[in-house]
């Protein structure tokens, strides 16, 4: 019961801290901030659990071995990654969901394609994502040209390699 209770409990605590921070001020680099909050929560929690193990060996929070630390860390890390991936859907407006919402608002009248193209322009769909790449250090502006950084190259090559592994040559998007 320990691993399940502590793993879920730690995630819940990290989520609460995240909500409190976001109510005060939403950080500029949101994913970075989430990673810091979650990793700090795990680190502090493990220190507390270690001290429980030393000074209160018989208590519920005293872990029996390194395997329990590993198991809790594994659970916490995957819950954290799941949340951060889901969060990225909140941070930006997914074009598919915008399309659906726009069509739904027309109810029985329907929506023609040209209206969609008028609403969804390069300035709305492309420019903000390029700005995100610069903000997150994946690209930079050299005069008027967007140039990929080493971090960006490393990041995108994982996806390119994976698609080559599957034999998919078509670029996504």
């Amino acid at each position: 019961m320990k691993v399940l209770f502590i793993g879920l409990g730690l995630f819940f605590i990290a989520f609460l801290v995240h909500m409190v921070v976001w109510r005060i001020k939403i950080p500029k680099l949101q994913t970075n901030a989430l990673l810091r909050i979650f990793s700090t929560t795990l680190t502090v929690a493990f220190l507390v659990l270690f001290f429980f193990g030393v000074f209160a060996a018989g208590s519920f929070f005293a872990l029996r071995g390194f395997n329990e630390y590993m198991h809790i860390a594994l659970m916490f890390i995957f819950l954290m990654l799941t949340y951060i991936i889901t969060y990225s859907a909140l941070e930006v407006d997914s074009p598919s969901l915008v399309i659906l919402n726009t069509i739904a608002k027309t109810k029985d009248n329907g929506l023609d394609k040209n209206t969609l193209f008028t609403l969804m322009t390069d300035n709305l769909l492309v420019k903000p994502r390029l700005d995100d790449l610069i903000r997150d250090g994946f690209a930079y502006l050299n005069a008027d040209k967007y140039v990929i950084t080493k971090k960006g190259s490393l990041f995108v090559s994982i996806f390119i390699l994976y698609r080559k592994l599957l034999g998919i040559n078509k670029k996504g998007g």
């Binding site: 995957f78 329907g110 790449l133 050299n142 995108v156 996504g172």
Partner: protein, 171 residues
Amino acid sequence: MASGYVIVLIPIAGLFVNVLVQVLGFKIFKKALLKSVFLGFSAGLLVILAPLLFFQAIDSREFISLTLANIIIYFCSGYCYFHFINLGVTARRIRLLWELYESKQGLLFEEITSRYNARYMVEARLARLINSGQVVSKNDKYFIGKPLMLCVTKIIIMMKVFVLGKKSEFD
């Protein structure tokens, strides 16, 4: 004690089997991408649940609780893997980075949009939504078909309001 470490390794083994079966399913058995994802996930889940058949001697309450923890870890890892695949298929930032990766000297905004632009994005997404029945086309107009993705849209908007205090990144 050794069994304690084996229990920790089970969800990692499950994820490994998930990825292996998904890649093999897509590449060798020519399953559609989404079907290969479900196949891989199911195979990995068998790895997670298999110990329930073999480790009956262990204190069952503790063992069931650890297996439940492993199921949660595995579902999360499967979700992450699915989104990794999905990012390669649909993510704008990945595509933009890919274009920049192929043009190391850099690209102007106009050069980028000549290769990948809003029109392409809308066309690609409309095609996916029509293929899956979420949108239907009648007399050159689009209507909502199956309501599943629309429900997901509304849930995401509610979550945006709860977490970010706004419905759109442009608010």
